[in-house]
Amino acid sequence: MKVFFQKKKIVFHSKLNEFSLKNKFSGSISSFLGKVRPYRDKKKVKFLEIEFYKKMAYFQADKNLKKILSKIQIDDFLIIHRYGKLFPGENIILVLVASQHRKDGLVFTKKSVEWFKKEITFWKKENFQLHSSWVKSEYE
């Protein structure tokens, strides 16, 4: 059960294979793969820069994933989130969940993705052809 933040690319099929083999006696593997979108308001995104508060991201992720796990039963999970410079089409977040029954796996996948997408201490800057701008928070 691990969370990783990394600069290097996420190779979905190899991570899925490794995780599936590691959890070969689980009844289901659920997955979510988030990607960098190529456009924002019809403007072409050249690349994305992600800055994060590493210590707080690990601390808060651990705390909030434990809260989700207190209500459901899963066998294992792997969450990888990238930071640094990312280009459109690249994978940004991968969530893999192994569980005996699909319902718990899907619930964990949904809740953890929602938390990461809204709450993790990350800030995104989109770089367009002529300018760059920080992505606005949902809480602003």
């Binding site: 988030g34 992600i50 800055e51 508060y53 210590k55 707080m56 601390f59 808060q60 989130h81 940004i92 977040i93 990461f116 997408k117 809204k118 709450e119 993790i120 201490t121 990350f122 800030w123 995104k124 800057k125 920080w134 992505v135 606005k136 928070s137 949902e138 809480y139 602003e140």
Partner: protein, 83 residues
């Protein structure tokens, strides 16, 4: 004590952290006042605290009367945009 800055705040201040030595415990409010007194970009950023969030030792705080010690790590940043 370590004071961390992120994202737009880091860009505006032109630095990602300050290290200060506290002679005695101070509150977050008092620290913010000290930062404003530095003037320039600090004044500009910390007078508008409504646009900033604050975390002490990786926990969000809303009570700015919380007292700070030298071993604490305090962070100021704009609302997060998530992953």
């Amino acid at each position: 004590m370590k004071i961390l800055y992120f994202a737009q705040l880091k860009e505006t201040l032109g630095k990602d952290q300050d290290i200060i030595q506290l002679k005695s415990e101070i509150s977050v409010n008092e620290l913010i006042k000290e930062l404003i007194l530095k003037g320039g970009k600090y004044k500009e950023c910390f007078e508008q605290m409504k646009n900033l969030r604050c975390a002490v030792n990786c926990e969000y705080i809303t009570n700015y009367n919380k007292s700070l010690k030298n071993k604490d790590e305090i962070a100021f940043f704009p609302p997060v945009t998530g992953g």
